[in-house]
């Protein structure tokens, strides 16, 4: 299974756009927000947690449709399905590879962008923590959505429609943790619930993803 993870990471690095594109998109969204809402520091600092979370969510969404589509087109997915790797493991590794190429860089870059939005200094720790805990769930849910739409020719738009409602709990708890951090409230509860959702998605969705892949490969 590690071989699959390494292969996907290597492909992401070589094909380009794996790491860079999502990050650039994240940056652009965050830069565009002040143009939309005005440059007042106070307002920006108030909405910064939400903007950062929504922007990272959209950036994660951007590369979802490539998780399985390429393997499906060149036949690798069918070969993987007949290989000794369990499809559940394949789903898990795909989600992990997606997280390492998008979620992790986003998490690392977020504080710098928080600076642009004059995020409250107390909130940085919780921004990092909440993204670190929450973005894996975004990748796993997205992998499930990608599996659902893998056989469709124009699945990209449908994928967003399916996945975004599933992102609601993660977004709520993630942004709430940062907001509470910024307001000097206790964000432990939100972080714990966020962790619970991530743990739950990783416990259940690999099975749902594998089932969906089997149906789509039939």
């Amino acid at each position: 299974m590690i071989a699959l993870l390494l292969r996907d990471l290597r492909l992401a690095v070589r094909a380009g756009g794996g790491f860079g594109l999502g990050l650039a998109f994240f940056l652009i969204v965050v830069v565009l927000v002040p143009f939309g809402v005005g440059p007042e520091t106070e307002l920006l600092s108030r909405i910064a947690p939400g903007i950062l979370w929504v922007a990272s969510l959209l950036a994660a969404l951007l590369s979802l449709d490539r998780i399985f589509a390429l393997d499906y087109e060149d036949g690798s997915l069918a070969l993987l399905a007949t290989s000794p790797l369990p499809l559940e493991g394949v789903a898990l590794m795909k989600a992990l590879a997606h997280w390492i190429t998008t979620g992790l860089p986003l998490t690392i870059a977020a504080p710098a962008l928080g600076f642009l939005l004059s995020l409250a200094p107390e909130a940085y720790v919780f921004l990092l923590l909440s993204l670190l805990i929450g973005t894996p769930a975004l990748s796993m849910i997205g992998t499930f959505g990608a599996a659902l739409t893998v056989g469709l020719r124009r699945g990209g738009l449908l994928l967003s429609l399916l996945v975004l409602p599933l992102y609601v709990p993660t977004l709520i708890f993630g942004a709430e943790a940062v907001r509470r951090g910024a307001d000097a409230l206790d964000p432990t509860g939100a972080l714990l619930l966020l962790g619970g959702i991530t743990a739950g998605t990783f416990a259940l969705l690999p099975f749902a993803t594998a089932a969906v892949l089997r149906i789509n490969l039939r």
């Binding site: 429609l161 409602p165 599933l166 709520i172 708890f173 709430e176 509470r180 969705l205 749902a208």
Partner: protein
């Protein structure tokens, strides 16, 4: 004879044909009685005035918006476990009805909210949950429409329905957490049942019965249509191969 035999498409078409007009008639009767009773023969609420009477549309619609999803979930489970075609098609047939119920609940809620809270829309936990439910319905319907092979579509939408149900419940609690976090619990509440007296309660029950019957009638009718579509496709496929 087992109950499941009624789920055979041919048998289903058979027994629903006489049942369907009666269901529609009964639904119409209940709705007419309930709405007329509710609108014209109940006193105005001492606090809310006559605006309270919109509960006769709002509450049953909201109830059915959720029940429709639960029915889809049950039908999806039956399809996955027992692979009865009618079950999958009934789930598909229920989704648009559920969407319309959700929309009715949202719109009547807005109309009610305007005189009560001075706004058509607030990010109240209940209102927000219904908006999210609406999005879940849209995704479910879109997935059905996107997949050509009917069995694959039934399988995939069933999985989506099950996973979606879990996330819908999660969202419900997340939204409660989120809004309390914002407003420290001072949010608007939609608990209409809280102080509903019997005078309002009985016509409301009749209306709810009417909505349930209407839902059943619409789902039966749409399922019949879906079965006919499948039958036509099957016949066409045979003709092409012959």
């Amino acid at each position: 004879m087992s109950l499941w035999e009624y789920a055979n498409p041919k048998r289903f078409m058979g027994w629903t044909r006489p049942v369907l007009p009666w269901t529609f008639a009964l639904a119409g009767l209940c709705l007419a009685v309930g709405l007329i009773w509710g609108f014209f023969f109940t006193p105005d609420d001492f606090r809310q005035g006559s605006t309270v009477k919109i509960i006769y549309l709002h509450v049953p619609a909201a109830l059915m918006a959720i029940n429709a999803w639960i029915m889809m979930l049950v039908a999806s489970l039956i399809w996955v476990v027992r692979r009865h075609h009618v079950s999958a098609l009934a789930a598909r047939a229920a989704a648009p009805v559920g969407v319309v119920m959700t929309l009715i609940a949202l719109f009547t809620g807005g109309i009610w909210g305007q005189p009560m809270w001075g706004t058509y829309w607030a990010w109240d936990p209940r209102l927000t949950s219904f908006l999210i439910l609406f999005l879940f319905y849209l995704g479910y319907i879109a997935l059905w429409e996107a997949i050509e092979d009917p069995d694959t579509a039934a399988d995939l939408t069933s999985v989506l329905c099950m996973v979606g149900s879990i996330f819908a419940i999660l969202s419900r609690y997340a939204v409660l957490f989120w809004n309390q976090g914002l407003h420290q619990g001072a949010s608007l509440s939609l608990d209409a049942e809280e102080n509903v007296a019997d005078v309002f309660w009985f016509p409301l029950l009749v209306c709810i019965a009417g909505f349930v019957l209407l839902f059943i009638a619409l789902v039966l009718m749409r399922t019949r249509t879906e079965i006919r579509v499948r039958r036509m496709r099957a016949l066409e496929a045979r003709m092409r191969r012959a």
